[in-house]
Symmetry: C2
Subunit: 359 residues, 2 copies
C-alpha cells in the first residue's frame, strides 16, 4: 500500500492567518460601526501600469492570429525578456550576468520553494529569524529540518540567525556552518536590510565555507539608500556562491499576473556538479515556461514608459509605508523599516506579546 | 560544504531531441531543396479561439483599473473557473466531483512532475511503456527509481507495463504490486487507449491493492469512441484510488498560455492521511496560483461560443492525424492511433530499429 511523504505531517497548520481572520470577524460582529484597516496579508492594490496593459493587449492579439501565435515557450524563458532582465537588472549595475544564466518562472514563490530540490537530503539550512516562511516550510516537506518545538516554533535542524533591534536586524555568522543560507534582503517582514559591505562579508563567508546563498531580492525596487546592494552580484565572488531570486510582484504589482526569475551563474558548482545544469533540468522536466503574454508584460516593465510609471507606483506604496511609520512614531511606538522596503516592524510596548498587542 | 541532490546526476541527458535536431540539420544542409515535415516535437499551431481572445482582452482591461484589479489569486484557483470545470467536465458526465476538489495550476506538466512529492521515498511506481517521460524523470530526481540500464533504457526499481501491438496497447496488471500507477489515456505517444470496462478493472485493482492511480487525461477532448471514459471518475470507486490531471493545451491550444488542473477527491487517503490536504499544502507553500487573466481564458473554454470554436479546432488536428494515418497506410505501413488521440504510432518494417527507420 502507498505510504505518503510523512514530512508533510510535521508541518504545523497555518494557524496565523486563520486565527487573524477569526479574531477580525468576531471584532467586526461586536463592533459593526468600526472601520478596520487590515494589515494581516500583504498584497498590491494599484492597477497594472498603462505600458503593461498595452503590452498585454498586443500579445493577446498575437495569440489570436496564426502567423503570430506562440505555442510552447522556451523552457528558460523568451530571449526578449531574458535580455531585458540582463541589460537592466544586471549590466546597467555593473553585474556580470548574462541572459543564459536567467531562468524565467511563474513567480519567486515557486522558485523559492522549488530550489531546495537541488540540495542533498541532509543539507543544513540557515535562515534569518523572522523571515518569509516558504524557505523553512519547503525544507520541512523535504525532511531536512528535524523536529518541531511547539513552544519556540523552531526546528531542531534549522540554523536560525536572529535579526533583532539589538543587532540592528543584521544576521550574524552562525556558530554551526550551514550548507545553504537564505537571505531575504530587504527583509520580509522586518522591512530592514544590510549594507553592501555587510553583504560582501556574507559572500566571503559562503565562499570560504563552501556554502550556497539563496538571495531573495523581491523588494529590491524599494531600496532608497546608496550603500545597499540591488543585487548580490554587486559583491565580488558572488558568482561562485549565490543564486538570486527576483519577483515582478513588488516592483510592478504582478501578484495576480505571476512572473519571476532566478539567476544561476554558470560557474556555480558543488562537488563538481553545476547547479545551472541541475536547475535547467528541473525547469525542463517539471515546468513548461511562463505564458507568452505574461513574458511580454514583463518586457514592458523595462520599457521607458513602464519604468517611469512603475517608479510612481513604488512611490505610492512607499508613501503608504511612510504614513504608517510616522503615525506609529507619533503615537509613541518604536518602529523600523519603511526606508528600503514597504514593511514596517513595530516593537510591542513593554513585554507585551504579539497576540496580546493584536487583541 | 553543500552536497547536491545526486539523483539528478542519474538522469541520462535528453539525447532524443538533440539527436533529432542534429540529424535534421545535417540532412537539410546536404539537401537544401527538400521540404521537411517535422514530427519530432508536438505543439499546437492554430491561434486561440475568438471566445478566448475576447475573454483575455476583457480580463486585461480589468487589471488596468483599480476597481476591477486582481492581486493574489486564491491558492486553488478562482471559483468561476473551478465551478465551470466541475459542471462541464464532471457533473455533465455524471461524475461526483465538486469544485473544492479541483486545484487549478499552470499546466499538467507541472502537476505531473510535482505530484510525486506526496509519496514516500520508497514508493514503487508503475508506468506504461512507452509513455510521456515526465512521470519517470520526476521520480528519478526524487531517488525512487534505482539504477539505469543504458542498454534497455530502463530503471531497476520502476515497474514497466509494456503496451504493444501484441496486447492491443492495453497494459496488463504487473506481477509486482505497485504503490502508484501512472496511466496516460488516451496514450502519449501511441495514440491508443482502453475501454471504460478495462479502466474499471484498473480502478478495482488499485482499490484492492491500496495503490494510487495518477490518471493523465490530457487528450480527453480527442476521444471519439463511445466506450472510452472521458474521466476516471466515470468508474465506480475511483474517488478512493485516483487523482486526475487535465491540461488545457490539447483541447484549447494553451501550450503557450499555461493552464491545467488536478482533481484530488476528499476521501482519497493512505494510512489515514488525506492527499487532498497534502496537495493543498503543496499549492499553498510552493505555488501562488495561475494568473487571473489566464483563468478567465480557461473559463471561456466552457462558454457556448468557446465550446463550438474548440470543437472545430480539435477536428482540424484530428484531420491532420487522419491524413498522416491514411498516407502511411497507403504507403503500406502498419499504424495505430489517430482515433481517440492526435498521435499516430507506426510499426517500423521488418526488424528495423527506430533510429534506422528515421535515417
Amino acid at each position: 500500500m502507498l505510504k505518503v511523504n510523512d514530512n508533510y505531517q510535521k508541518l504545523p497548520g497555518s494557524y496565523l492567518f486563520s486565527t487573524i481572520a477569526k479574531k477580525v470577524a468576531a471584532y467586526s460582529e461586536a463592533n459593526p460601526e468600526k472601520r478596520i484597516i487590515r494589515l494581516g496579508i500583504g498584497d498590491v492594490t494599484q492597477p497594472l501600469a498603462p505600458a503593461i496593459i498595452e503590452a498585454l493587449h498586443r500579445a493577446v492579439d498575437e495569440m489570436g492570429a496564426a502567423e503570430t501565435f506562440h505555442g510552447y515557450a522556451p523552457d528558460l524563458g523568451y530571449e526578449f525578456l531574458r535580455n531585458a532582465i540582463a541589460d537592466n537588472d544586471y549590466k546597467a549595475r555593473g553585474c556580470d550576468i548574462s541572459a543564459d544564466e536567467i531562468f524565467v518562472s511563474d513567480g519567486a514563490k515557486s522558485d523559492s520553494g522549488n530550489i531546495q530540490e537541488l540540495f542533498s537530503a541532509d543539507a543544513r539550512i540557515a535562515v534569518c529569524d523572522p523571515v518569509y516562511p516558504v524557505y523553512v516550510d519547503s525544507n520541512v516537506m523535504a525532511g531536512r529540518t528535524g523536529t518541531y518545538d511547539e513552544k519556540t516554533g523552531m526546528w531542531s535542524d534549522v540554523i536560525y540567525m536572529p535579526c533583532t533591534m539589538e543587532n540592528d536586524f543584521v544576521p550574524e555568522f552562525p556558530r554551526e556552518t550551514p550548507d545553504v543560507i537564505y537571505l531575504c534582503l530587504p527583509n520580509n517582514p522586518t522591512g530592514t536590510t544590510i549594507t553592501k559591505t555587510q553583504l560582501q562579508e556574507w559572500v566571503d563567508y559562503a565562499n570560504k565555507n563552501g556554502a550556497l546563498i539563496i538571495y531573495d531580492g523581491a523588494y529590491e525596487a524599494y531600496i532608497s539608500e546608496e550603500d545597499v546592494a540591488h543585487s548580490i552580484y554587486e559583491c565580488e565572488g558572488a558568482r561562485t556562491c549565490a543564486i538570486e531570486i527576483k519577483s515582478f510582484s513588488k516592483n510592478a504589482g504582478f501578484t495576480g499576473v505571476r512572473l519571476g526569475y532566478t539567476v544561476v551563474p554558470r560557474e556555480l558548482s558543488y562537488g563538481g556538479v553545476s547547479l545551472h545544469g541541475m536547475w535547467a533540468r528541473r525547469h525542463g522536466t517539471k515546468f513548461n515556461g511562463a505564458p507568452y503574454i505574461i513574458q511580454r508584460a514583463g518586457e514592458a516593465v523595462y520599457s521607458k514608459e513602464g519604468k517611469a510609471q512603475l517608479k510612481q507606483q513604488v512611490a505610492y506604496y512607499m508613501n503608504n509605508a511612510k504614513v504608517i511609520l510616522e503615525g506609529l512614531k507619533e503615537a509613541g511606538y518604536t518602529v523600523f523599516g519603511g526606508v528600503n522596503a514597504p514593511y514596517i516592524w513595530l516593537k510591542t510596548p513593554g513585554n507585551m506579546g504579539s497576540w496580546e498587542f493584536f487583541d
